[in-house]
């Protein structure tokens, strides 16, 4: 093998990433130790305790790391699709033969050992996307390509949804960042942002009021861009007229007409008039605006329907708790409230290693897995938790920076995928512990207890570090 001169590999490894990785893993272990620690089991390496097991998982992760670093990068590229296929098969298999843990059928049990294929799906999708999008002359804005990308992402998403693990499924939204980098137009993320905004506003305001605001802003946009003030005022006048007619009708007939019906009717009248004028005068922008307005109104009503009628009760409750629309500190809001108490009680400099009362008292459920950040917050305080946020952000940006220096599109896209997935996990996990996001059960990369998660993230990251060692070579 000429290309991988083993004597030199040490020089080409991005040691900064490796050290960051090691720092996160070890700090994670320290916090797991503290979460699980009890006087009776003081031996650090006892396999009967979770910190003992995690230590074993870390040792195995290091072995995996070394193995991957000595792998041929060609193998990674060539086996991208087969690995994707294999993981999809595992996802199907777990649906058929898996164990149910915490309400989701996403675990294989082999003896005492449990294994969660969904954790590896992110790696598989990253590889497959990199392989598919890394081809010579690939253009993203192409119907066929978009369809295939959607399929590559949609298949594991659906399979994991079927397992009942919503948290792990929505992680695939992270790949939007990759697609954005690779040519998805700006309006897509903006549209998504807009959609999220509308959803959040819909929790607080009546739909009819939002409709009016939307309608007004579209008319205003038209007036400002086209400087067609007289027409805009005419439409506005007609709409207000429609509302007055509605109210007059109400007064004359002594019937109460729900105000939202009146408002909706007035918006409809305005929209129809604008549409007629647009078509008659071949006024493209007007037609577009009306279509977008109608689209957002449909979205508004369907998101409301989904929120009230499709989401499960506990999911809706989690969202309501996030926005303070509901308080239930003993029931559904218990985790979030206890998590805030644990982190908040840490203060500026924390209570110290092994000294967290909330941690020691097991007040936060899943403290060593999804809520491991509570231990950090309580025992290491503001300084400790800030350090973790900074280290993660540093690692993610470091990966982006490395990705940008790749010569091959495969490596670059894969690097973006790694950064995006780690970012998504990090952001959602920490956001839920400090009440910036609803409770979504996904682990904090490298930190949370669990072999599957640790290995999957290690493989994900180290594969990229390996690719980076050969960034000058075409794949």
């Amino acid at each position: 093998m000429e290309r991988t001169n083993e004597k030199l590999i040490g020089n080409r490894i991005d040691w900064l990433s490796v050290i960051t990785w090691l720092a996160l893993v070890l700090f994670g272990w320290i916090n797991i130790y503290s979460s699980v620690f009890s006087e009776e089991h003081s031996s650090i390496f006892s396999l009967s305790q979770r910190y003992g097991k995690q230590m074993l998982w870390i040792v195995i992760a290091i072995v995996i790391l070394i193995t991957i670093l000595f792998l041929d990068t060609q193998v990674i590229s060539v086996f991208s699709f087969p690995i994707y296929g294999l993981v999809m098969l595992l996802l199907v298999a777990v649906l058929l033969f898996g164990e149910v843990v915490n309400g989701s059928r996403s675990w294989f049990a082999i003896g005492n050992f449990q294994f969660q294929p969904a954790e590896f799906a992110k790696f598989a999708v990253a590889l497959a996307l990199a392989k598919f999008m890394g081809r010579e002359g690939f253009k993203i804005m192409n119907f066929k390509n978009l369809t295939i990308i959607s399929a590559l992402l949609g298949l594991p998403f659906l399979l994991i949804m079927l397992q009942g693990d919503t948290g792990s499924a929505i992680v695939f939204a992270a790949f939007l960042i990759v697609l954005f980098r690779e040519g998805l137009p700006v309006f897509v993320p903006l549209l998504i942002l807009f959609a999220v905004l509308i959803f959040i506003v819909s929790l607080f305001l009546p739909l009819s009021v939002i409709s009016v605001i939307l309608s007004l802003s579209f008319i205003g946009y038209y007036a400002l861009t086209k400087r067609d003030y007289s027409y805009s005022i005419k439409i506005l006048g007609i709409q207000i007229g429609a509302i007055l007619v509605g109210l007059l009708f109400e007064v004359l007939t002594f019937k109460t007409i729900p105000i939202h019906l009146v408002l909706t009717a007035s918006i409809t009248v305005g929209a129809i008039l604008m549409l007629i004028k647009g078509i008659k005068n071949r006024h493209g922008i007007l037609v577009q605006l009306v279509v977008i307005l109608i689209g957002s109104l449909i979205y508004l009503y369907s998101v409301d329907f989904i929120y009230h009628d499709v989401l499960k009760d506990h999911q809706r409750t989690r969202i309501n708790i996030l926005f303070n629309l509901e308080e239930d500190n003993k029931g559904a809001g218990y985790n979030m409230n206890q998590s805030l108490i644990a982190i908040g009680s840490g203060g500026l400099s924390g209570k110290g290693f092994l000294k967290g009362t909330q941690t020691k008292g097991d007040f936060v459920p899943e403290q060593d897995t999804d809520f491991i950040f509570c231990t950090v917050g309580e025992e290491w305080g503001f300084w400790g938790s800030t350090a973790v946020v900074i280290i993660f952000t540093f690692l993610i940006i470091r990966i982006l920076w490395l990705a940008e220096r790749q010569h091959s599109a495969f490596s670059r896209i894969y690097g973006y995928a790694v950064a995006s997935v780690i970012f998504f996990h990090f952001a959602v996990n920490i956001a839920m512990t400090i009440k910036l996001a609803p409770v979504i059960g996904i682990p904090l990369p490298f930190f949370s207890y669990g072999g599957s998660s640790l290995w999957a993230f290690t493989i994900l990251l180290v594969t990229f570090i390996k690719l980076d060692t050969e960034r000058h070579l075409p794949l």
């Binding site: 954005f180 108490i341 982190i343 908040g344 909330q358 097991d362 900074i390 952000t393 940006i397 970012f423």
Partner: protein, 594 residues
């Protein structure tokens, strides 16, 4: 760098800044979470005091505490267990257990309450097979004499209104629900203590807080000695078996209630432990209403037992004197004739011993029409005040909960009913012989008897003698005067003596006891009249005043008089010299068979 990359990196960095900002807010700026953490980590464990025990007047134990156990579980620590076995041991259904377990997570839920020591002994053997379950020791009341259920009352779980009224109580606490348990709750309950532990979320105790520096000890409840004579009480209950009615016996010199029987009664031991609510509902729904304390609540017209008081009022008001004689042959009101048991010339003593109705119609007429009395309504009000002075028609203020006030209507009632100035003594003549618009409880009548026995005064009847050797409320040691001069009692008591020696209740006669009494019959529109007898003995230094009501038993002398006589004999001599009478009384079945 491309602008897109800058946007992405900016997005990451903004996210980090938002996180750090929020962390700064909750960890440094906001103190709310630090305070919450404190509450989280402590648990206040209540130490329940032993409830005070209750004795009778002779130091016999009437109520004590027996250990009982509550089985609790912390739902999310409950492991795999044999539901069937648990249900069998506790007589629960699987559904009940599952539902209880579903009702909590980290906080304990109660699986079964007040498990008896016997049941617990069995359960304990298996407890290791029910992970997450544990037993908590409580106490349960026991009634070794199985007597005086109405007076002792029972103890049950507090309800919402108790908690709202008194902040001492927490949900799940026990409180006296009736009788002495209720009236003397504050003494009996003691003072709860609290132990503060540092605990984790699963309520696993990590240790006591600051070595118990802030803990308080439970203070046991005070013991109570009642005025009851357990033997007399039990004897009364025996005599009243298979009869409806009540007996009240009072020691006249002190107002102490010696016995208070309401029949039918029930075994107080039914109202404890797991079976309380089941048994309560069963007993409460029995057709004879055993829970109804007739002695305190049932209102009967006093009938002829009222005559001595009528005579006393008339003597005090000087509308008659001991030599007054009426020649009677019934009493004609103008519209009808009040019938009488005797005819001819009747003097005061004879009017009592032979229970002349007409004599008291004349007396009543005099009381209401005598010139110095003024108008009839004024005269009536004056008469009513005399009755109140005997404790009739007013709440006596006894220390037993739920006593009735009784019925005497004010003059305005008749004004309204007949029209002002359109009624007179004849309109309401039935009051003269203790019938009509009058209703008194057996306790009030017993108290009236005690007042006659004392020749003019009484003490408010009460059930508690001592609270942990401290003297009782002063209220019960103050003489309540009837306002009747002592000399007026001489002929009346003499008449009451003749009731037993030669009058209507010779059946109650006993050569050594010097019983004075008066028969009575309460008219009962629903069936056979109620038999009443009041008595006290010995005549010159009364030790006991007693009243007996037997429902649907007809004339007063047939049932009530012998029972009263036996009660007196039992109390004064502790023996029964008339076994035949006793057997006849005990075996008498005056209850409608079901």
């Amino acid at each position: 760098m491309k602008p897109k990359i800058i946007v992405i990196i900016a997005f990451f960095i903004i996210t980090a800044i938002v996180f750090i900002g929020k962390l700064y807010y909750i960890q440094v700026l906001n103190v709310k979470y630090k305070l919450s953490a404190q509450n989280n980590a402590f648990r206040h464990v209540t130490q329940y005091p032993a409830r005070g025990v209750i004795f009778d007047r002779n130091g016999k134990l009437l109520v004590y505490n027996e250990a009982s156990y509550d089985l609790k579980a912390i739902p999310n620590r409950v492991g795999e267990f044999d539901t069937t076995l648990l249900c069998e041991l506790l007589h629960l259904t699987q559904n009940e257990v599952r539902q209880t377990l579903r009702s909590g997570r980290h906080l304990p839920v109660v699986i079964a309450k007040q498990i008896s020591p016997k049941q617990y002994a069995v359960l304990q053997e298996y407890l290791y097979r029910f992970p997450g379950f544990y037993a908590e020791k409580r106490t349960v009341r026991k009634y070794p004499e199985s007597t005086a259920a109405h007076m002792l009352g029972y103890v049950g779980e507090v309800d919402r209104s108790d908690i709202d009224r008194d902040s001492y109580y927490r949900s799940g606490d026990y409180i006296g629900k009736s009788g002495v348990e209720k009236t003397y709750e504050e003494y009996l309950r003691g003072e709860k203590g609290v132990q503060i532990y540092v605990v984790d979320v699963l309520n696993r105790i990590q240790g006591s807080y600051r070595n118990g520096e802030y803990d308080t000890l439970a203070v046991a409840g005070k013991n109570i000695t009642t005025t009851l004579d357990a033997e007399l009480q039990k004897y009364g209950e025996l005599l009243m078996s298979n009869k409806l009615g009540s007996i009240v016996a009072i020691e006249p010199h002190t107002g102490e209630i010696l016995a208070l029987v309401s029949s039918p009664s029930y075994d107080p031991n039914l109202f404890v432990g797991q079976q309380l609510s089941k048994n309560y509902n069963r007993v409460a729904n029995l057709p004879d209403k055993p829970l109804y304390n007739r002695a305190l609540k049932a209102l009967y017209p006093p009938g002829s037992t009222f005559k001595p008081v009528s005579a006393l009022i008339a003597l005090q008001e000087e509308v008659i004197d001991p030599t007054t004689v009426f020649v009677v042959n019934g009493y004609n009101t103008g519209s009808h004739i009040v019938k009488d048991h005797i005819a001819g010339a009747v003097g005061l003593e004879m009017s009592i011993s032979h229970s002349s109705n007409a004599y008291y119609c004349h007396v009543f007429k005099k009381i209401l029409t005598d010139k110095k009395m003024g108008a009839v309504d004024k005269a009536y009000e004056n008469w009513k005040q005399h009755l109140h002075a005997f404790g009739l028609g007013v709440k006596l203020g006894t220390d037993l909960a739920y006593e009735s006030k009784g019925i005497i209507y004010p003059a305005t009632y008749f004004d309204k009913y007949y029209g002002k100035g359109r009624w007179n003594h004849n309109t309401i003549i039935s009051l003269a012989i203790g019938q009509g618009e009058l209703g008194f409880t057996p306790l009030q009548i017993a108290n009236m008897t005690a007042a006659i026995a004392n020749r003019g005064y009484y003490f408010i009847p009460h059930i508690v003698k001592e609270i942990d050797s401290a003297k009782i409320n002063k209220l019960y040691t103050v003489r309540q005067n009837t306002g009747i001069a002592e000399r007026h009692f001489i002929p009346v008591v003499s008449g009451m003596e003749k009731v037993v020696t030669s009058g209507t209740a010779r059946i109650a006669y006993h050569p050594d006891l010097f019983i004075c009494g008066k028969t009575g019959t309460a008219q009962n529109p629903h069936g056979e009249d109620h038999s009443i007898f009041i008595a006290f003995a010995p005549k010159d230094d009364p030790k006991i005043a007693v009243v007996v009501y037997v429902e649907n038993a007809g004339f007063g002398s047939t049932w009530a008089a012998p029972i009263a006589s036996l009660m007196i004999e039992k109390y004064l001599t502790d023996t029964i010299s008339r076994p035949l009478v006793e057997v006849r009384m005990i075996n008498g079945r005056l209850k409608k068979e079901e």
